[in-house]
């Protein structure tokens, strides 16, 4: 429990630091103060991809009979929920950034389209998780869908990438502060990456524990779970 609290404290400290650094960034010529979004938006997107990667890895580990543990299922589920959360935040911060800089809330850019498709795929994953079923059947089904998503995401990405480049050949990368980023921006963004990753890991651990407790509750009735919680509290 203590290590989880330390992790949580680190996440909160780095997140606070990211906001402090990010809000302190100077206004740029091209984007004015909107360029401060660089401290938030890319780290959120990165974390979303990490979360879905972890879901896929945990699903595959569950599918392999030798490594099949209920914990992998719980981790896959927790990570997918967080992935949806971070993808949602990525799309929201992205459109808030896009509106003043590109002039539109949404554009059919390759990366945006792939991200939106990814969100829908994992919403489907979560939808099927909420169907009442036996724990083992649900875990198996989720693992199959979670593992199949590994195939879906890259091929969607590839298709959409071709679509946009073939069609308009316009790169939005030049509009983003990427190539000519100076030191302060890089520092804020890197801290953002650390903060979001730590927050993700922290929430993942907590959510996994909750899901496992939920499963236990389902399996062994209330009394057993209460007894375990009491033992844990006494041990501290």
């Amino acid at each position: 429990m203590r290590s989880i609290r330390v992790l949580g404290a680190l996440a909160v400290v780095t997140l606070t630091g990211t906001f402090a650094l990010g809000l302190g960034l100077p206004a740029t010529f091209e984007q004015r103060t909107y360029s401060r979004m660089v401290a938030l938006h890319p780290p959120l997107a990165w974390t979303a991809y990490v979360a879905f990667g972890i879901t896929a890895a945990a699903s595959i580990l569950y599918l392999i009979p030798r490594t099949r543990r209920p914990r992998w299922d719980a981790i896959a589920s927790a990570s997918a929920e967080l992935g949806v959360l971070f993808t949602g935040l990525t799309l929201i911060t992205g459109s808030l950034w896009g509106r003043p800089t590109w002039g539109v809330w949404w554009t059919w850019d390759a990366r945006l389209t792939t991200t939106a498709l990814m969100l829908v795929i994992y919403l489907g994953y979560l939808a099927q998780r909420s169907i009442a079923d036996t724990a083992s059947a649900r875990a198996m089904r989720s693992a199959i869908i979670g593992a199949m998503a590994v195939v879906v995401v890259p091929i969607n990405h590839m298709a959409v990438e071709w679509w946009r480049t073939l069609h308009q050949g316009r790169s939005l990368a030049s509009l983003k502060p990427g190539s000519t980023l100076d030191g302060d921006f890089i520092a804020a963004m890197l801290l953002g990456f650390v903060a979001m990753t730590l927050s993700y890991v922290w929430l993942l651990v907590l959510r996994t524990k909750v899901i496992e407790a939920d499963n236990e509750l389902e399996a062994h009735a209330l009394t057993a779970a209460i007894a375990a919680r009491r033992r844990e509290a006494v041990a501290q």
Binding site: V120, L123, I131, I144, I155
Partner: protein, 222 residues
């Protein structure tokens, strides 16, 4: 495996011939979609003609959802799928067989829809060989991915509402690639279609592999 696949494909097609779900329900639905598109997009402004390839493949994708759902329901009803497992058929073969049967039905629907867009939307079918090649590759991919996902959703009480949510984002690359390839074909510039055909082929190979390897696990789970 291939012998089992042939048996299952034969069985499924025989069921379709007798129940006539594809010919009496899915095919009229496909044509209905074409007519509904005309209501949504004003036919006089030429939008239909320009969007014909996209509308065509959208109709095919919707029909795929219905066809694979039907194909999976056949195995769930009266626990027929368990009978197949008891018969000791190779799961990879069962998958291939079901996918082939779905693919055959889709090809019939696509032929019908092609006549439909030529008739209703006045689309000129240039480059028929390219259109045919695209249709074949796309159909293999649609049937393979659809059969795999339908097997996951089959047997669940809410499977009918869940399947479109799971399957449609997966079929998005096929819709995209097939539409672009057809657009190139209909516009008479087949060179633009090459990379899209490659993508369709990659998708098809990938999902056949996933299905053949994973179908046994899918059957166990349901």
């Amino acid at each position: 495996m291939f012998r089992d696949a042939a048996l299952i494909a034969g069985k499924d097609l025989r069921i379709e011939r007798r129940s006539r779900v594809t010919t009496q329900q899915i095919a009229p639905f496909a044509l209905l979609v074409l007519v509904l598109f005309a209501f949504a997009l004003d036919p006089d402004r030429g939008v239909l003609g320009r969007a014909a390839a996209g509308l065509y493949w959208l109709a095919v994708v919707f029909c795929t959802v219905l066809a694979v759902q039907r194909s999976a329901t056949v195995e769930v009803t009266d626990r027929a799928g368990e009978g197949l497992r008891l018969a000791g058929l190779d799961p990879g073969g069962v998958f291939l067989g079901k996918a082939v049967a779905v693919g055959a039905q889709l090809l019939v629907l696509e032929a019908l829809l092609t006549i439909g867009i030529a008739f209703f939307y006045g689309t000129k079918l240039h480059e028929p060989m390219l259109l045919l090649a695209t249709a074949l590759l796309a159909t293999i991919g649609l049937a393979a991915a659809g059969t795999a996902y339908a097997a996951v959703a089959a047997g669940l009480r809410v499977g009918t509402t869940l399947l479109p949510l799971l399957l449609l984002p997966v079929l998005a690359p096929v819709l995209l690639a097939a539409t672009r390839a057809w657009e190139a074909g209909l516009a008479g510039v087949p060179g633009d279609a090459v990379s899209w055909l490659e993508l369709l082929a990659a998708f098809a190979v990938l999902y056949i592999a996933v299905g053949v390897v994973g179908y046994g696990t899918l059957q166990e789970e349901s």
